[in-house]
Symmetry: C2
Subunit: 703 residues, 2 copies
């Protein structure tokens, strides 16, 4: 038996704090449990009553003669620890602590929560909450509604976890209106014990759960979350509302390049990388989940719209296109068949406009024809009820025809509210239906993305043959000496050890053989004056580029010495830095930044001086597979620039894919790298011409 079974499959439940006071938590909770038809025994616990809800009540959980699997605790916060201790002694295996007043209020609440966790641990009890609104488990052999949400929730295939009790109630209410049912529901509150990770694991192979919904405010363990959800989404969709972006908004506004890889982008990267469908609101989450719960996945992106009104069809088509799906072209045969049954005023091109006289028969016949067209993957039937035509009849027809084909049908019903109230009873097993065309289009797009995600392989983490020791020695040494930025020479060595195409260079001490070193590096060259205390080298004439040959080189040195001399800095010069000059090309940036929560966050984007302004950057968290690396590159808006536009040749994308993976390998080999930027990396069609031109590495202090 899994440890969460005590919570989600109890045979007996004690309600500690049950009462008969109307409107109280203890009363609502026990009512809900009875009304949902719990398949086991319910024991009210409250010393002040002899019976509650016609059921014998017990003064404490210890006085219950039968075994108790789960205790739901709604007593005032001062009594929670005692109740939990009693539960432990009784041999209870699961706790749901509804009571608030713990970590979320700070001060003594934090202490109280720690004590609660200690009690649960001592007795081996799993615990949901505290400060939560309860759990639902709808499998037929359980049928438990241990929440205080109003009404009886519908049973279905959605397992939902929420970090906010209030939004949990909203979800239950909205779901009911749209005929959406739950397999499980868990309001996790302070997550003192059971977290999103536990629930994902529990629901992964659960036979009653077809789709998982999450309202997340934070990730407890992003790496574990990523690993799990990446696996689960290959068979079950996960739809998430992730809030808490505004803090990140503030961070992103910071002027430092490193901050580009902030909290929000990391959260977004985790979800994207794991195939989790992120939505912007609870409303949209419900819309999307209804799609997944009540309809098959589309096998392509080609949408047909069948309507009785022009305006809504135009809006639907707009939204379909803006969501990245295609408005399909119907075959000649389909159009001929439609023309044969529709009036002359109708349009048989997509969107098919049957005009406002269309009733159940037209919806039936036209949908059947359009669904039979091999060029159609998704159909959005739109119905705006005219007089004389019964909306429920049309919806029944759409469902009948829709269910006969294995294609995605998402209906739009632009009708009075009363029809939405009637739909759940009136049309059995209805295809998903929405109030507005935008919803249907967005749901179709989400479902197609999920279909795509499932069809691509998981990707591999590739390991290259590198000189790990050299790199780690340098990082370790810097770490021990207090951390900070590596010197250019150290950066060069670390990157070279991991196989990056760093520009060749040499450092020549004053009086050394500059010409020989230059010949070794190879022309054309960049020459820089060396000297730790000379900071703004180019300002004082200490940098020369485009040095073509030895003559240029020696002239440049002469000019440089004069410049540095007249700046009064000659005594600080320790030598010369000679660097291969990369051929001008497309500039990209590759970087990584440690996030205290997400670990290393990798970034790739268009590079150069304006990277912060253009912000055309993709992010990933670890582990980064070959597929992730490739998708990062394809994800940026400027990707066409790399593929080659206006007659240009494609740059070596494989080189970038490999560089991203090498960077991932480097940061997973050493957690000492706080921040690493390679900007610009100049890329060319030929791999041999690609170069890391400038880079910096900051190392954590310590040692």
């Amino acid at each position: 038996m899994e440890s969460l079974d005590a919570i989600f499959k109890p045979k007996s439940i004690a309600i500690i704090g049950a009462t008969v006071r109307p409107g109280s938590l203890g009363r609502e909770m026990i009512n809900n449990l009875f009304n949902f038809g719990f398949n086991g025994m319910i024991f009210p616990v409250n010393p002040r009553y002899e019976y509650i809800h016609s059921t014998k009540a017990y003064p404490t959980v210890l006085s219950i003669p039968d075994p108790v699997d789960l205790a739901v605790v709604v007593v005032p916060k001062e009594h929670v620890l005692m109740a939990a201790e009693d539960c432990g002694r009784k041999g209870v295996k699961g706790l749901v602590i509804i009571t608030a007043g713990f970590k979320e209020v700070g001060g003594e609440g934090i202490e109280r929560e720690e004590q609660l966790v200690a009690i649960a641990k001592k007795y081996g009890m799993r615990m949901i909450g505290p400060n939560c609104m309860g759990v639902i488990a709808s499998p037929p052999d359980v049928r438990m509604n241990a929440t205080f949400a109003p009404g009886v929730p519908k049973r279905g295939s959605l397992a939902f976890m929420t970090q906010s009790g209030a939004l949990g109630v909203a979800i239950i209410l909205t779901a009911k209106k749209l005929n959406l049912g739950f397999s499980y529901f868990a309001s996790v509150g302070n997550k003192a014990d059971v977290s999103a990770i536990d629930l994902l694991q529990y629901w992964e192979n659960d036979e009653y759960t077809g789709v998982i919904g999450l309202y997340l405010e934070s990730f407890d363990n992003p790496t574990k979350f990523a690993e799990l959800s990446k696996r689960i989404t290959k068979s079950k969709p996960i739809v998430a509302v992730k809030s808490g972006t505004s803090e990140a908004g503030a961070r992103a506004a910071s002027s430092h390049t490193g901050s580009l890889a902030g909290l929000e982008v990391a959260a977004d990267a985790v979800l994207r990388q794991c195939g989790v469908i992120r939505v912007s609101s609870i409303e949209r989450l419900i819309d999307v989940v209804v799609g997944f719960s009540h309809a098959p996945l589309p096998k392509g992106d080609r949408v047909a719209i069948v309507t009785n009104a022009g305006g809504p069809a135009i809006m639907a088509a707009d939204c379909v296109v803006s969501q990245g799906l295609a408005i399909t072209e119907l075959s000649q045969e389909t159009r001929d068949r439609l023309a044969a049954i529709l009036p002359a005023e109708a349009s048989v091109n997509n969107p098919v406009d049957m005009i406002s006289g269309a009733g159940p028969k037209e919806y039936h016949d036209c949908l059947d024809i359009v669904l039979g067209d091999p060029a159609v993957d998704i159909v959005i039937p739109i119905f705006v009820p005219p007089l004389m035509i019964e909306p429920l009849e049309v919806m029944r027809t759409i469902t009948d025809v829709g269910r006969r084909h294995d294609k995605l049908v998402l209906a739009v019903l632009m009708a009075e509210e009363k029809y939405f109230d009637l739909m759940p009873q009136a049309v059995e097993n209805a295809v998903p239906y929405y109030r507005f065309p935008e919803s249907a289009a967005e749901v179709a797009a989400a479902m197609f993305r999920h279909y795509n995600w499932r069809s691509i392989p998981a990707g591999d983490v590739v390991t290259f043959d590198v000189d790990k020791k050299t790199a780690l020695d340098i990082l370790q040494a810097k770490h021990k000496s207090g951390g900070g930025y590596l010197s250019p020479d150290e950066v060069d060595s670390v990157l070279r050890a991991y196989g990056f195409a760093v520009c060749r260079h040499a450092i020549v001490p004053l009086g050394g053989d500059l010409a020989a070193a230059a010949k070794e590096v190879g022309y054309p060259l960049v020459l820089k004056v060396e000297g730790e205390s000379i900071v703004h080298k180019s300002d004082i004439g200490g940098v020369e580029i485009d040095i073509e040959d030895e003559e240029d080189l020696l002239e440049a040195r002469q000019r440089m010495e004069a410049n540095v001399g007249s700046a009064g800095l000659f005594q600080h010069v320790t030598g010369y830095f000679v660097q291969e000059m990369a051929r001008p090309g497309k500039e990209v940036i590759l970087g990584v930044k440690q996030d205290h929560k997400f670990g290393p966050v990798l970034m790739f984007g268009m590079g150069g001086k304006y990277v912060e302004i253009i912000r055309d950057i993709a992010f990933r968290v670890m582990p980064v597979t070959d597929l992730d690396a490739r998708q990062m590159i394809q994800e940026i808006n400027s990707y066409p620039l790399l593929e080659g536009v206006r007659g240009e040749v494609r740059v070596d994308i494989e080189f970038i894919v490999e560089s991203i993976q090498r960077l991932a390998q480097l940061v997973s080999d050493s957690e000492l790298i706080a921040e690493l930027d390679m900007n610009p990396v100049i890329v060319h069609p030929e791999r041999g011409d690609c170069r890391v031109v400038d880079a910096r590495i900051r190392v954590n202090g310590g040692g």
Copy 2:
């Protein structure tokens, strides 16, 4: 009397095609008219009945003894022309043609519509439709509901125009649920006569109309629309759903730079430039209109959130920030006062979390304190009903306190549907309330944008002193010779005549004094070989840049002659093109393209080779004021680059503002310019350094 008064203020109405058949248009229409309490006489017209709806019926409109102002026509399409003719002879002044089967069905329908328009014109009748769902006018002395939408619409201050009858029904249904009332409603159908322009004019100074809503599929007269709406939005908000973007999606995908200024961007530019609030869906339109109708405009962007639940407040804060508003910092005094009345577990920082025990008293007192804080412009109270607290009581309190302050209050009520059904009756004059926090945040942002728009001046169209004749002569000549691209010399002359800072240049014939010409233009220089049949000049070594002095120049000529000679093209050389070499700087693009519907569409953005990929461009239609020009520049994402980032100096923004206005002047002086691109225009901190480096002008053919 205005001509539309016959439609919106009739004293008597004939319903031609009225019937008693349940569910028919003719029956619904007459029922709706009676139920809304029309303040005048209703005459059913149908030869088959003696009376309809207990009212004497007439065989034709001609047999009605009293005068008839308006006729609503619901007869089958074959009888419409006859009915209209009768109306004309009767002296009817307004027609609402519900019947479909006209232009929208093509073929004979087009002809039928032309005949209908001719009849209306002959008798001076104004006409709405055909193919529409009717009109509503709710002023107390009219009270006309001549639509077949179900139910009785509420009276209010929204005047709404829709091009889609189906979406019109959806609007009426949705509005009713949210307690939103109409002053007028017009479904314009095929717009054979009355258009959006007519209605905007009619509603502009109407005392019953506070906000105008539009569902647009197309603009009939964008210039007139722009002029009108720009004026109206300075006193009344206009909220529009503009659909039909997907066609533009396809156009935007085209690879030609010119297509950047396509249909969709033009539509978007018109709306933006005129202060029209564009929303993405009917749902959002209703949300925004409810805000404008039931609440005062915010006088700033500082939002406070007051909640009884954490999750929804986080979501609201996210959305507030992403909409560009600010989460305000409450004053110490405010926080102290909140702390004095809230439990210790509450949060007195913004978002103020009163925790779930908060009832009417807490909402009252906390809202009163927060609304009194001078650092607060907008308050979003969020209420998630816990047990024991009556939602309607809380909503009443929020309304009471909200109405006492002159600040924007947008409530979020995350409750069961039944409370939304009860709200209109239960809470009089309620502040706007929404189901989800996202709605409130978006509405607040729209209302703040409108407040801002009203507070800025309208802007002026500036006219510069230019050499109009020179430019127009060149354009005219090209036009007469069949149009096409102007030569570089012609482009130079046209732009110079309008005061653009074009790079100096000279054309030197073979054997001419190249050195003298070069001295005149000024070093550094670009040298290009001239010759009409030499196309890929740089490929054959016919272009040299960075020419510093006469020695460089003569060497370059020598190399060039050798190159051209070895390419076997020497006999095609006609001379040399010498051009001032612009100092490298920030590259922008300025352009204009004629759109067959919108006229000249101006564009400004970051320039260079990749303008199509980066797509950081702003658009405007004519007329372009100084303010428009400035806003175009500020609108692009790369604006910080022009302002100066990372220690760079700001470029001369005034130079760009002026250049945009000069371009607007040029295209309004001559409609012969089909397309004009200046790319790149290099801009610098000093105006004198800014240069138009490359430009092309395509002239319409004809003449």
